[in-house]
């Protein structure tokens, strides 16, 4: 019928073509096209399960930085004490043994065996802690950096008031340290170290740029800025933006510096490291880094001596995951050396204090 209709059309300019029947060949072709279309649809990867398909150059790979030569690792983990808080923030060693940890709403004390000692309830989250030793005016006193100032606590936990001298709205206290009659705090917001006496009287501000005294100032790109006093009466300050540790007198005179920027294990990684450090009783330095979380020990002169904890130990997800997040790269929120020179690491991801001791040493921790 189709053919006949078409024959009529040929003579008829005004008759538009009608709709003919479907021939077998056409039907086959159409079916084939339909199958091709269907296959194409089924091949669409709607869920991104085949990955982005970007070439290798788009891959962010830093695996080689995450693995550390085991020969270099001179410490091993001997214990881990969980912190029963919803978040952890700061760590300080107690001179006589044990440690303090702060988190949202509380400061918790632990003895050297990891048993709980005190619990101090606070409002907000203390961002840094220090405990006075026997040399201090008030032995055993606890200092806590709060968002609004420095709060003092008796060894038993009773608050003794707060001071705010030298602080302004930009201030962000990231570290506290105590020495004889002095209390010192790192103020990351203003990029200076504040020096008070034990009553909260501001004595000096250390680290304001001053070319005449050869003081260049601190570079603090992110909220990590650590200070520590050593028994020699010299203040050590981490200058993270310069990847250095610098030494100052309590009067604020620059004494010296060490440290080198490098992604390799010998140096400090990225833009702002070391994020934290502590000083062992013999004057060696324990440093912690963010970005590539690692804890290392340097000699007094700044030579790498050994690795305490590797990125694999501190943030296993970093190695496991192509999809890491910022919080995994800031696994360490504090390091401290306790009375026995064990190294305490405040692990943000596991919310615990992890204890490291030299390989071959005694292991008496919990």
């Amino acid at each position: 019928m189709a053919g006949k209709a078409r024959k009529v059309q040929r003579g008829e300019l005004h008759r538009p073509p009608g709709v003919g029947g479907m021939s077998g060949v056409l039907a086959l072709l159409l079916a084939a096209t339909a199958v091709i279309g269907l296959v194409a649809v089924l091949r669409v990867d709607n869920w991104g399960e085949r990955g982005s398909g970007l070439s290798e150059r788009f891959e962010f790979s830093f695996e080689e930085l995450l693995t550390v030569d085991p020969e270099l690792v001179g410490y091993r983990e001997t214990g881990q004490v969980e912190v029963p808080l919803s978040s952890v923030r700061a760590l300080a060693a107690v001179p006589g043994g044990g440690w303090l940890v702060s988190g949202e709403g509380a400061i918790l004390g632990f003895d050297a065996q990891g048993a709980s000692t005190v619990r101090i309830t606070v409002t907000g989250e203390p961002t840094c802690l220090a405990v006075a030793g026997e040399d201090h005016t008030y032995p055993g006193r606890i200092y806590a950096g709060m968002p609004s100032g420095v709060e003092r606590f008796a060894p038993g936990g009773e608050s003794q008031g707060m001071w705010t001298a030298g602080l302004d709205e930009n201030s962000r206290l990231t570290s506290l340290t105590v020495f004889e009659g002095s209390v010192l705090a790192a103020d990351a917001g203003n990029r200076v170290v504040l020096h008070w006496d034990a009553e909260g009287q501001l004595l000096s501000v250390i680290g304001r740029p001053d070319p005449s005294r050869n003081i260049r100032g601190f570079t603090v790109p992110s909220g990590f800025f650590d200070v520590a006093m050593f028994a020699d009466g010299v203040l050590r300050v981490a200058n993270p933006g310069a990847r250095r540790i610098e030494a100052y007198t309590l009067e604020g005179d620059f004494l010296g510096e060490w440290g080198e920027a490098s992604a390799a294990i010998e140096g400090f990684f990225g833009c702002c490291n070391p994020s934290h450090f502590a000083i062992l009783s013999d004057g060696r330095f324990v440093t912690a880094e963010k970005g590539i979380p690692r804890v290392k020990i340097y000699s007094e002169q700044g030579q790498l001596e050994t690795v305490v904890a590797t990125p694999e130990q501190l943030s296993p997800r970093l190695l496991a995951s192509r999809a890491f997040r910022e919080d995994q790269t800031t696994a360490v929120l504090g390091v401290a050396a306790d009375a026995a020179d064990r190294i305490l690491v405040l692990d943000a991801l596991q919310r615990s204090v992890r204890i490291f001791e030299p390989r071959g040493g005694s292991s008496d921790a919990t």
Binding site: G18, V19, L30, G37, R172, A320, A323
Partner: protein, 456 residues
């Protein structure tokens, strides 16, 4: 039932998984490490450098949405006028091209009335979703117009229909059995799309839209292949997407059956000259019916009775089958896939990880929580699947009834459901030519008629 049997081991697995989860410790820990604003300290004081502020580019086209709604309404009015009052195929065609250019190539497809069904369904199913008024109008306008004028939206306004309209240059007839069979797909697709939209799984109609990649001249390669295939088929089979896939087409077909006015082939009276019989590329023209010879009536009545009796059974069967389909249906939900993957990883059934499973581990969300979520989603799909099954049973049942009922038709009329009001058939009708007053043509048509009648 299969669904329950498959869920039971999943629950068991959850319990086991939660026991041996090496990630559990990580999970709770990570969740509690928010990024702290206080970790970010002010930038250094620069002497003569102002720290720039990144300002995101504004959304460019909020006013355009309303322009589009306005144009949609205007185009619908115009299409209805051209198709029904002016009976101008040429006008309809011109409007088709204009709408193709504007709604298709210029607006690049989104949001279209077909997709808008899903937005409405999502608004019903997800309290978190706010339905924009413009999107609602995109859905409502065509429906309301169809209730009054038939599918004039499909005739000239829909950009998807327009692509197919312009490429339909060598249409052939699709065998009736195939046409009716494939014609059920849009109803199924509609049900599926509503289910997936209401469960916040996704907008499958948008995902598998064959033409949007063509409008944008970019997109996923496979979708371009699919689009090309549909266009190619569309050269020979009129409007394959409209007839065999489009879920809005299904909605509009139903509305159109109840429309107040509708396109007629003959402008005045149909003389049953049969000239229009094969003029519709979409197979929408119904022939006049002859009364059944009385000896066939009892058989017809039995058929009808069977169809009527079958319909509720089909609905019931649909409910049963739909319940069984819950799990496969839920597979399209990203969280379902994720939970499956995560559990399999935990049990060591699969090697390695996927981006999704890693991202999940990184959030620190406990696996138990994900699994509980997925069980809720599956429960939703069990319910939705039953509705879907019932709907399909109903559609098939009604189709069977419709096939057995012989309406009383004296004229050549377009089937109101399938006719897209494109007006291609007008000029085949000699009455139309008469009305237009072209008697010379009329004479030619008559001779053509004789020629055709001579060859039955």
């Amino acid at each position: 039932m299969v669904a329950r049997e498959r869920l039971a081991p999943l629950r068991g697995r959850i319990r086991r998984a939660s026991a041996l989860l090496s990630w559990a410790a990580w999970g709770t820990a990570l969740a509690a490490v928010p990024a702290r604003a206080s970790d970010i300290i002010p930038v250094p004081d620069f002497t003569d450098y102002r720290v720039p502020i990144s300002v995101p580019p504004a959304v460019e086209h909020p006013g355009w949405e309303w322009l589009s709604v306005l144009l949609l309404a205007l185009a619908l009015c115009l299409a209805s006028y051209l198709a029904l009052a002016r009976r101008s195929r040429r006008g309809v065609y011109a409007l088709t091209v204009a709408c193709l250019l504007w709604f298709g190539f210029f607006r690049e497809g989104c949001v279209c009335p077909i997709g808008a069904i899903q937005n409405v369904a999502l608004a019903l199913g997800d309290p978190g979703y706010a339905l924009p008024a413009s999107v609602l109008l995109f859905f409502l306008l065509p429906v309301v117009f169809t209730l009054f004028f038939g599918r004039t939206f499909c005739a000239a306004v829909c950009p998807l229909g327009a692509v197919q309209e312009v490429v339909a240059v060598r249409p052939v007839q699709v065998p009736r059995w195939l046409d009716h069979g494939l014609g059920l797909i849009p109803f199924f697709y509609l049900g599926l799309a509503l289910l997936y939209a209401a469960t916040a799984t996704g907008f499958v109609v948008c995902r598998y839209d064959p033409f949007v990649a063509i409008f944008r001249l970019s997109g996923n390669f496979n979708m371009l292949v699919f689009g090309a295939a549909v266009v190619l088929i569309g050269v020979f089979v009129g409007r394959p997407y409209c007839r065999y896939l489009c879920p809005l087409g299904a909605v509009l077909a139903v509305c159109s059956r109840a429309s107040k006015w509708h396109v007629r082939i003959a402008p005045t009276e149909c003389t049953r000259c049969r000239l229009c019989e094969s003029s519709c590329p979409y197979g929408a023209i119904e022939l006049p019916t002859r009364p059944l010879p009385s000896r066939m009536r009892p058989a017809a009545r039995t058929r009808l009775a069977t169809a009527l009796g079958l319909a509720p059974l089909l609905v019931l069967a649909g409910v049963l089958v739909g319940g069984l389909l819950a799990l496969p249906l839920a597979r399209l939900h990203p969280e379902d896939r994720l939970a499956e993957r995560v559990l399999r990883e935990d049990q060591g059934l699969v090697e390695g990880t996927t981006d999704a499973s890693e991202a999940f581990r990184n959030t620190g969300r406990p696996v138990e929580e994900l699994v509980a979520d997925v069980l809720a989603i599956r429960a939703g799909f069990r319910l939705g699947g039953r509705w879907l099954g019932a709907w399909m049973g109903l559609v098939v049942g009604l189709k069977l009834i419709a096939l057995t009922v012989r309406g009383k038709r004296e004229d050549y009329l377009p089937d109101r459901g399938r006719c897209v009001s494109c007006g291609r058939c007008y000029k085949y009708c000699p009455e139309e030519q008469m009305t237009l007053g072209d008697l010379r043509e009329q004479a030619e048509w008559e001779s053509a008629e004789t020629a055709e009648v001579a060859s039955p």
